[in-house]
Amino acid sequence: MFRALNRLLMSRTGPILTGVAVGILAPLLTFWGNPGNMGICVACFTRDIAGALGLHRAATVQYVRPELAGFMLGSFVSSLMYGEYKPRTGSSPIIRFFLGFFAMIGALVFLGCPWRAYIRLSAGDLNAIPGIEGLAIGIVIGIGFLWRGFNLGRNFPAKRALGYVMPAIAVMLIVFVLLRPSFGPEGSSAIFFSKEGPGSMAAPVALSLAVGLLIGWLAQRSRFCTVGALRDLIMFKDFHLFNGILAFIVAAFITNLFLGQFKLGFEGQPIAHTKALWNAMGMVLSGLAFTLAGGCPGRQFIMSGEGDGDAAVFVLGMLFGAAIAHNFNLASSPAGPGAYGPAATVVGIVFCLFVGFLMREKI
């Protein structure tokens, strides 16, 4: 049974199966308690973890999201089982750190990563449309660089233990969410858990973790990637990953309808703002940064579980970006972009353009 399932996941059907699973489970997680249209949002959840650790002090977005720990552990176990655990590193880690950093800034200006953009669309939030258009523009700019020889350099095989770091962090996060330790007087020290706002909304830990592990497993086997989908379609007319995204949106649409979570319109959507320009620009930045780094935030988490040290550095860059986004008033709120969000988006796009132009290597 496992062998047959694995063959299926490795085939053309793999991304579709993963997309259907994510499309059903993400709205269900919202139904079970996660914030609106945020059943799974890799960027938002990384931001919540940054808050829980006290890296930022936005009191409404602090929670140790078990889904992301599940992504890393599911992928770790799956890659071990199928001989795909390959520790590797050395492909411009510092650049990847800041690509992760700015990808997060862009995502928090839009209020969601590509995963959440598709979920928002499937739930009738029309503000997702300029976001997805921006995402596509960012990816197209990234493709321009890829055709012109953009390259962050090769990675190299590393010692086996290098890949244990992120799974170990995942285990630590699970311990934190289960035991909810406080490292000082209540309320003044980590670990922080929001008492109100999105951070206070969460599905039961066991369900969140189980979904995270399952999706981590499925995505590791099928290489599900929300940015690679558009990239491969545009670059090579390859529908392989794109079919997964279509399946994801359709499954999420049906599940949201079924659960009564579908609401068409621009106004009053959960954790969203209506400023089309910055919905788009935030995602231009994210799409470009993810394309230069080789995959969407979910994919970076999955690869970090497989032993990819550079993807792990990207993930840590996202964590740092989330902290800065809230400490420096860059992140958007339902009222619109933060005071310095638009400026930071422009800085991020300039950074990515420099990286795209300057990091070219003859191979």
Partner: protein, 73 residues
């Protein structure tokens, strides 16, 4: 028979192994191309791309854990 063209795409992020393969196919419309990669993901991506362009693709695992994809047309 001409010698196989070698494309060393080991250690490159997605989708660069496919980009390098595409460049090689453009330069060598017929014959044999060997693409070296080090993850199963790249094996599948390069093979899928080559097949969709009318090439035959098979791969073998090399002793140090990387893969050689053999493309023929």
């Amino acid at each position: 028979m001409a010698e196989a063209v070698i494309v060393d795409a080991r250690g490159l992020s997605c989708p660069q192994p496919v980009v390098e393969t595409k460049k090689a196919i453009k330069k060598t419309p017929y014959g044999e191309i060997h693409v070296l990669v080090d993850t199963m993901t790249s094996v599948m991506n390069v093979s899928r791309f080559a097949k969709s362009n009318g090439w035959m693709a098979e791969y073998e695992e090399l002793p140090e854990g990387s893969f050689k994809i053999i493309l023929r047309k």
